[in-house]
């Protein structure tokens, strides 16, 4: 459904392009990473994660977030090229 919508909106986009865009969106899902960061914080506050685990995990997520934001930015500006296999 989603692919069709995209194709109808942008009739000159190929299916490969659309799939590629969706894949990048999924891998670099800023919202999902932000949610995970918030969940990690919550579990730490509830005492399920010790401080060290919390710090290591949230630092990793923050790095992921930075990368994802950068990739989304590039995606928006049309500068991302992914080789098709």
């Amino acid at each position: 459904m989603f692919i069709l919508d995209r194709l109808l909106m942008k009739p000159f986009l190929t299916i490969a392009d659309t799939l590629h865009t969706m894949a990048v969106n999924e891998v670099y899902d800023v919202g999902a990473i932000q949610d995970e960061l918030k969940e990690t914080r919550l579990l730490y506050e509830l005492g399920e994660l010790d401080r060290e685990t919390y710090e290591v995990r949230s630092e990793q997520l923050r790095d992921d977030l930075e990368l994802a934001e950068e990739m989304q930015q590039k995606l928006l500006s049309g500068n991302v090229q992914v080789a098709q296999t």
Binding site: Q34, D35, K38, E39, L42, E45, L46, E48
Partner: protein, 205 residues
Amino acid sequence: MTQYLYAYGVTNDGSFEVDLTGVDNATPVYTVDYRRYSAIVSDIETMEPEQTDENARLHDDVLQTLIEDRTVVPMRFGMTFKNGRALKGVLRGGQRAFRRALMNVDGKVELGVKLVTEEGVDVDREAVRKDVTERLGEVSDERAENDLFSDRLVVNDSYLVAHEDREAFNEVMGDLTEAYEGELKVQYTGPWAPYNFVDIEIEAQ
């Protein structure tokens, strides 16, 4: 170095200056006044303060301290203004909105309620939400639903509670914690500045 103003919120309780540490470790916290409205500010050297945990905490600490004896319409993190004149312009333009917002939160605080499933436990989410909303609805003025950012979150709400209802609200929270013991963990936080109960959009200049 150019000094800009970092704003925390607006009050109508008059002009003041306090020795608090604000965002980017600025001190003091003081007001920029326009008629009966005062914007609470500290000096800052950038128009784009860094969104660090430390800065977010400082922003919140300032508001936490001030709401102990003042009514404040809080601003979200990162509101900076070029100078006092720009800020006064916002106060002038927003007078009606500020009056309404201040009236709405006068004498009230925001309290946060999160219910999280214990690991591996399944609950009837709808039933829990209904029960919690009903019980807390009786001891609060307003409720705001927040994002369920984790699969384990069943409830993530904010409540606007009048000072005189605080004790009753605490009691209901105690009852809820007991009722769901073993199934749900309860995180009860606050008092917060009423972030979720003012809807003023400010365009920073």
